[in-house]
């Protein structure tokens, strides 16, 4: 049924590595707290892509572990996003800014 000609594994991995690096770039270079979160989400997504890729290219017999981990990872990153964004709002209320450079003390 699903006879999709897939590209080779290293290619997918390179794309995933690029996505990961871009996520890291967003997390490291942006000053806005939300975008650091977005960068982390992107890195997680890249990791998911790796899981799916390795699942797809794994030799038979074919366990569905990769897909399962991807599903769980998506669920967990959703939880992470919810809590993270709530924290951004809470911190914003306190500091009146979203610039992470100014979040440098725990005192409050």
């Amino acid at each position: 049924m699903y006879r999709i000609m897939t590209p080779t594994l290293p290619l997918v991995l390179i794309v995933s590595a690029a996505l990961f690096s871009i996520g890291l770039l967003a997390a490291l270079s942006r000053r806005h707290a939300i975008f650091i979160l977005i960068g982390i989400e992107m890195m997680l997504a890249a990791a998911n892509l790796n899981f799916i890729a390795f699942w797809r290219f794994a030799p038979p017999p074919h366990p569905s572990t990769g897909v399962m981990i991807a599903i769980f990872s998506i669920a967990i990153s959703a939880a992470e996003a919810a809590v993270g964004l709530a924290m951004v709002i809470a911190v914003y209320r306190h500091y009146r800014t979203t610039n992470v450079d100014e979040y440098d003390q725990l005192k409050g």
Partner: protein, 160 residues
């Protein structure tokens, strides 16, 4: 054909991701993030993991993206644009990218022929989730509940 699709999708995804990381307009960047995720979901489709792709769209575009956009809106009063590029960050990210690419290319065992596999149906996924992965599933449910409550508690206005 799928080769063409692959190239198109990867260009779209990476371009959108790059835009997310660099665009100064926050709202545009957020929508670019959505686009990048859409590209990722198409990747999953291409690799035969339909369900994961749909779940990604459902969760990220339906819920997380809206959350992000809302958060940007709620923290809008912070009008100062945080300009200035953190060059050390760019450097590190680039170094990691090079390192990863090098590692991927160097590993010989990766060049394998994609096996012909039967599609993973939703039914199979459901059965696997309910048998072998029942404990993780419950834990994730608990985690989501805790995250929900935690997020609510965090953003609740403090009563004075």
């Amino acid at each position: 054909m799928s080769g063409v699709a692959f190239i198109l999708i990867s260009i779209l995804t990476l371009a959108a991701a790059l835009a997310t990381a660099t665009l100064p307009n926050l709202m545009h960047a957020a929508f670019c993030f959505v686009l990048a995720l859409l590209g990722l979901a198409s990747f999953f489709f291409l690799l035969g993991a339909e369900f994961v792709g749909l779940a990604l769209v459902f969760i990220y575009i339906g819920a997380v993206a809206v959350l992000i956009v809302f958060t940007i809106l709620l923290t809008r009063r912070d009008s100062k644009e945080h300009h200035g590029v953190n060059w050390s960050g760019v450097l590190i990210a680039f170094a990691v990218f090079v390192g990863l690419i090098w590692a991927v290319l160097k590993t010989q065992s990766l060049s394998i022929v994609p096996p012909h596999i039967r599609a993973l149906t939703v039914r199979q996924i459901g059965q696997t989730l309910m048998t072998g992965y029942v404990w993780p599933l419950q834990c994730v449910g608990l985690l989501l509940t805790a995250a929900l409550i935690g997020a609510l508690v965090l953003v609740m206005e403090e009563k004075k």
